[in-house]
């Protein structure tokens, strides 16, 4: 699956990510009576007043806009949880806390349409902003270590974070790959820092551009 907004299809626009995030489920408390909804993505409901149920966020927001339900903010979106996450993010310089993959988008959706359902909304909002800033800063410092020997990175990054850095990382890695081609590089002893012992089973390098 790739984005439609970019002609090369290599990246999503923020709005497209928001659209994808709307498929995550969230708990609502309806105040209307409605039959079970059978949708392609699954069955939701039946809706009974004051009985909580799980629905996709797009449905929750649509009902909320019509005043037909209250949204229960997810567990991670509480002041205590977010404070813990922020502390942990600040303590460790390299690892990332496990947050929902779409936390940036979900929080924006809820802040736009369900402010009255989130307790301490201002606090929660500024905490999420702080967490986001800390994480982006960490990503930036982490990217400085990128080099021609980078093969894989495993991090708890969220969709939006990955999307923002994607054009830069792919472009940078491609250039590193091109310049790191063994045909071009003198495997001499004048740059010992790049000559680490390498596992033998890596296999032949794949040519990206030839």
């Amino acid at each position: 699956m790739s984005g439609q907004s970019d002609p090369r299809g290599s990246t999503f626009s923020a709005a497209e990510l928001e659209f994808l995030a709307e498929d995550e489920t969230i708990e609502i408390v309806p105040n209307l009576r409605m039959e079970r909804l059978s949708l392609i993505c699954g069955d939701f409901g039946p809706f009974r007043p004051q009985i909580a149920t799980q629905v996709p966020i797009w449905l929750a927001v649509a009902l909320k806009k019509r005043g037909k339900c209250t949204i229960r903010p997810p567990d991670w979106m509480s002041v205590e949880k977010l404070t813990q996450v922020l502390e942990a993010e600040r303590d460790s310089a390299s690892s990332f806390e496990a947050l929902p993959f779409h936390y940036v988008e979900i929080s924006r959706l809820l802040f736009d349409d369900a402010r009255d359902d989130i307790p301490d909304v201002y606090m929660v909002r500024s905490l999420i902003e702080d967490i986001k800033d800390v994480r982006f800063h960490k990503i930036g410092t982490g990217l400085e270590k990128l080099s021609s020997r980078t093969y894989a990175m495993k991090l708890n990054l969220s969709a939006m974070e990955v999307n923002v850095i994607r054009p830069f990382v792919t472009g940078g890695l491609e250039t590193f790959y091109k310049l790191g081609n063994p045909d071009l590089i003198q495997e001499s002893s004048d740059r010992p820092e790049h000559r680490r012992p390498q596992p033998a089973d890596r296999g032949p390098r794949r040519e990206l551009r030839r």
């Binding site: 400085e144 830069f168 003198q186």
Partner: protein
Amino acid sequence: MANYYDIDDILADEELVPAVFLEAVNGVGLFESNEANRVEPRSKVELPFWLARELHLRQAVSVTIPPCFNKKTREEIGADGAHVDLRSRSSYFYELGCKIVQLMGDKSIGSLLLVAFQTRYKEVLIKAHTAASSLTPKFLSSLTKEETKLYDAAKSSTAAFKTWRMGGPRFQKAAVLGRKRKPIGGE
């Protein structure tokens, strides 16, 4: 060979490289003032890379390393790669370097390119993600084509994220909507 339709690859081929003719060549219009329309052996000329490569392979000319990879540049990159003005030397520094290495087999240029990119990459990264709207023209004008592309990619994705977060209209109105329909059949 890179992609045949890659415009940057084509433009990189246009970069001039110094070459020395090994043989006398007739009928080349390199020097318009030269009435004889003839190039003497051992005359030095600057040829676009695509021409120089073909002539070099036919041993009609001998290509020398372009001045953008000379000792001075190497020393500057070794000292502080991030602040060398590479564009004034060659906007296709990396691409041309790769081609020269393949042609001449001078692998020290390859390592130079890698070191240069490694040091300059960080600068691009920091500038692109932090410097908000205050453009740094001096910095930008020292980037090569490849680095500029990288910078723009990072810049635009960060900017797109910021505008989304600031809010603004969720839905964009299509241009055709809201236009009054013309009455059909007559004025």
